[in-house]
Symmetry: C2
Subunit: 204 residues, 2 copies
C-alpha cells in the first residue's frame, strides 16, 4: 500500500510532537499506525531518518512562506528602513496560520519542540538560512541596537516562538482561545525596541 508510508509519517509526527523523539518507540508508532515494524525500516531505514523525513515533509513550505513574506517586506521598504512589525510577522504568521490547518497542526507542535530542545546541528540544518535572513532584517529595522543586544533579543524571540508553538497557553494558564500573530508580534516588537540596558551601551 502506498498509504503505509503516509500513515507512518503521520503517526510518527504526532507521537514525536506529543512525547518527544527519545520517548517514542518505533513499536508504539507502528502499533498506532497499524503497520508492520519492518515497513518502517523499509521506507525510512532508521528511526533518525524517519524523524528527518517527518521534518522535511512540512518544514520547507513554512520556511518558504516566511522568506516570501520577508521578501515582500523588504520590497515594500524600498531603500528605506524595514518595518520591525513586518519582519516579525514574516517570522511568526506562517507557522501560526498553518497550524490552523489540520495537516500542519501537529507538525507545528513538533517544530516548537525542535526549536525548544534541538541541538545546534539540527537547528542549523533546518533553520540556518531563516535565522541569517531574519537577523539581517531585524538589524536593518533597528540600526541603532547594539549587536550583542540584538543577538540576545533574537534568542529571546526564538524562545517565545518555540514555547508558543509547543504549548497552548491554556495548558499552564487559564487563557482561552488561540494566540494571535498580532499579540506575539506586539510583544516582541516592543521588546526589540526597548532601550538597551546601560551596561551594554558602551559596546555599541
Amino acid at each position: 500500500m502506498i498509504e503505509t508510508k503516509s500513515r507512518i509519517l503521520d503517526t510518527a509526527e504526532r507521537l514525536f510532537a506529543e512525547r518527544g523523539f527519545s520517548a517514542t518507540s518505533l513499536r508504539r508508532i507502528i502499533a498506532e499506525a497499524g503497520v508492520n515494524l519492518a515497513a518502517v525500516h523499509y521506507h525510512f531505514r532508521s528511526k533518525q531518518a524517519l524523524l528527518d523525513a517527518v521534518m522535511l515533509r512540512r518544514l520547507e513550505p513554512v520556511n518558504r512562506e516566511r522568506l516570501a513574506m520577508l521578501d515582500a517586506a523588504e520590497a515594500a521598504a524600498g531603500g528605506g528602513p524595514l518595518e520591525l512589525e513586518a519582519v516579525l510577522a514574516a517570522l511568526i504568521a506562517p507557522p501560526l496560520r498553518l497550524r490552523q490547518e489540520p495537516a500542519y497542526a501537529t507538525f507545528m507542535k513538533l517544530m516548537g519542540r525542535v526549536l525548544a530542545e534541538g541541538d545546534l546541528g539540527t537547528m542549523r540544518k533546518h533553520f540556518g538560512i531563516v535565522v541569517e535572513r531574519f537577523l539581517g532584517a531585524v538589524a536593518r529595522a533597528l540600526p541603532d541596537l547594539p549587536r550583542e543586544e540584538l543577538l540576545w533579543r533574537a534568542h529571546f524571540c526564538v524562545g517565545c516562538l518555540a514555547h508558543t508553538l509547543l504549548h497552548k497557553a491554556t495548558e499552564m494558564f487559564a487563557a482561552t482561545g488561540e494566540v494571535t500573530t498580532e499579540s506575539l508580534v506586539a510583544f516582541l516588537a516592543a521588546g526589540f525596541r526597548a532601550a538597551a540596558p546601560v551596561n551594554l551601551r558602551k559596546h555599541a
Copy 2:
C-alpha cells in the same frame, strides 16, 4: 560511602540537563558517576524518583529567593502600584544569579528543560505557587492590561526564560558573554507594556 548518593545526583543532573530524561539511561549515569547500578535503586528506588530528587534538591532555594524578592518588591510598593521591572527581576534574577555558582549551573539548564518541555503536572507541582504569585503581581503592576493578553504575555515570558536557561545564546547566534538580568527584564518589561492589539481590546 555517603558520597555515592551525591555522585549519582550530580551526574544525573548533568546528563538529564544535557541530553534530556528519556535519552539518558541509568547505565550511562552510573558509568560516569563510577558507582554501581544497584546503588541507584537503593538510594532512589526508580529512574523517575531520581529525577524528582534531582529537582527537589535545588529547586526550592530558587523559588524561595524569587518569592522573597517579590515580597520585598510588594513591601516597597506599599499600597501603591507594583513596579513591573521589580516583579520581573524577582522572577529572573535568582536563576540567572545562581547559575553563576558551580553548584547550580547545570541545574539551571535542567530547570530550563523542564520549563520548556515539561508536562502540565510537573509544571504545577514545581512552579504552581510561583506562577500564581507572579501572575497576581504582574496584574497589579499593569492593572489596565486585559486578562487574556496578560496570560499570553506570561506564556511568552516563560518561553523566554526557559530558552535562556536551557541554551546559551552562543549556541545558535554569535553572542558573546553572559546574558544579564537587565537585558531580559528590559525586553520582557517592554513586551508586557506594549499596547494590547486592537482585536483584544474589546475583551477588556
